[in-house]
């Protein structure tokens, strides 16, 4: 049900029946390493190319989530997914393997929550009993796609971020047990004129703040409603900018714990990740691996995940265009019967 300008309130309370997180070696060495379902110790995931590796991560995460939900592929009505590669091949090719009716979406790194919001809307509206939302990214494919091939050995400035290697998937169900998806806010595209592809956090921070303020306005909530609010991948530079913007706009963000998945997944003091993490998988594996487990265990009751995405293409920034950004928020709350 539409609430306010750009938010959905899910009255039929779709639940996340099961979720999975599959990551690469660097993520496994991070502070959340123990929360992920599968940690690969080889970046190639046993595949011939990085693109095939990324696809294998998506397939593994999708199969794992479906299996953990006690279902099989034929019971999942729709798969909503996307990734960072040209023509979102990782998700589309994974959907070919899975054989589930598929909707490809692109929201750059906001795809995690964009796909989850859409899956929840489909289930809430009675369009499916089970829908799968998922996304993936790989450090080496993203470097090749957006910056330089890794063998080129190009220098990175300290504002750069490290794309997470991993995939996350969630099975959204009409009923049953599990964390409940209660609301979602779909973001507007915000562009503050930043052109530096090595400073995505700064470009995305205003989009995250725009969506957060829209969420609070539409649903009549304040930050204190949530135990935890996390942005997707603003990392160190973007997180500080977003805090400043929230204070400037009079949002009482100090009522809650406010963090960023891009800061949580790695320990920046001992891992070579510059300003922090980024990538579709960043918010996906932190939300599906770490946060959902803490909701299930009762440590957290209400969490808002605001996945942020930079909607640039290599061509657009080479032609000197600025970086348009977006953020989508999904509210996940502890179910009553856990």
């Amino acid at each position: 049900m539409l609430k306010g300008q750009q938010s959905w309130l899910f009255q039929n309370r779709p639940v996340i029946r099961a979720a999975s997180s599959v990551v690469g070696p660097e993520e496994g060495r991070g502070p959340l390493g123990a929360d992920f379902d599968v940690v690969h110790d080889d970046l190639t995931i046993g595949q011939k190319s990085w693109e095939q590796a990324e696809r294998a991560l998506m397939e593994e995460a999708a199969k794992l989530a479906i299996q953990q939900a006690g279902l099989n592929e034929s019971q999942i009505r729709f798969f909503v997914g996307g990734d960072l590669l040209d023509q979102i091949i990782s998700s589309s090719f994974a959907a070919r393997t899975l054989g589930i009716p598929y909707m490809g979406v692109f929201g750059a790194c906001s795809t995690s929550m964009e796909s989850l919001a859409l899956a929840a809307q489909i289930v809430d509206a009675g369009g499916a009993d089970y829908a799968l939302a998922g996304t993936c990214s790989h450090n080496c494919t993203a470097e090749k796609q957006f910056r330089y091939p890794t063998e080129y050995g190009s220098q990175k400035p300290p504002t750069a971020q490290y794309t997470v290697t991993g995939a996350g998937a969630a099975v959204v169900a009409r009923d049953g047990e599990g964390p409940v998806i209660t609301a979602a806010t779909i973001g507007r595209v915000v562009d503050m004129g930043i052109k530096d592809p090595f400073n995505m956090g700064a470009a995305m921070a205003p989009a995250a703040v725009d969506t957060l303020m829209a969420h609070f306005r539409d649903l009549g909530r304040s930050p204190g409603y949530y135990d935890l609010i996390v942005t997707g991948d603003l990392a160190a530079v973007g997180h500080d900018i977003s805090l400043e913007l929230l204070k400037k706009n009079g949002v009482p963000i100090e009522e809650t714990t406010y963090s960023d998945c891009g800061l949580m997944i790695f320990d920046r003091s001992r891992q070579p990740v510059q300003a922090g993490a980024s990538g579709c998988a960043c918010s996906a594996v932190v939300a599906y691996g770490h946060i959902l487990k803490r909701i299930r265990s009762g440590e957290l009751n209400r969490v808002l995940v605001v996945a942020t995405g930079a909607l640039l293409s290599p061509l657009s920034y080479q032609q000197g265009e600025s970086i348009p950004c977006i953020a989508h928020a999904v509210s996940i709350e502890r179910g009553g019967n856990e």
Binding site: T44, C140, K144, P149, E151, Y152, S154, P157
Partner: protein, 116 residues
């Protein structure tokens, strides 16, 4: 003393390149081509040869010396063959460098399979 000057001059050229990346926010490719052009202009003014005499490898190893070599070859052939020498002479001095880049890239491609 020769080593010190080579280190300082070569290092200074690299500092200029690093500042182009960090301060001017040029891409690595733009930085490299700009340094080649700077080397070409400096040789056009007749200053690169004295720099090589002074700093040795400090001036010949950085990419600026490639620009110097391009102009140097072109000017030498210009004197010998007239205006057509500008075209034929550009790769005169640099042909060894360019040919070895092609040959060694080919050999490396036979042995390794880049994933990117």
């Amino acid at each position: 003393m020769q080593f010190l000057w080579a280190f300082l001059v070569g290092g200074a050229i690299c500092v200029i390149g690093q500042l182009m990346i960090d301060v001017l926010r040029l891409t690595p490719a733009h930085t490299m081509s700009t340094l080649v052009v700077i080397g070409a202009i400096v040789d056009g003014l007749g200053w690169y040869e004295p720099l090589i005499e002074f700093a040795g490898a400090g001036a010949t190893v950085p990419i600026t010396s490639f620009g110097n070599a391009l102009v140097h070859g072109a000017l030498a052939e210009l004197e010998r063959d007239g205006i057509i020498g500008v075209v034929t002479g550009i790769f005169e001095v640099t042909s060894a460098g360019i040919s070895s880049a092609i040959i060694f890239s080919f050999l490396a491609a036979l042995l390794f399979r880049p994933k990117g």
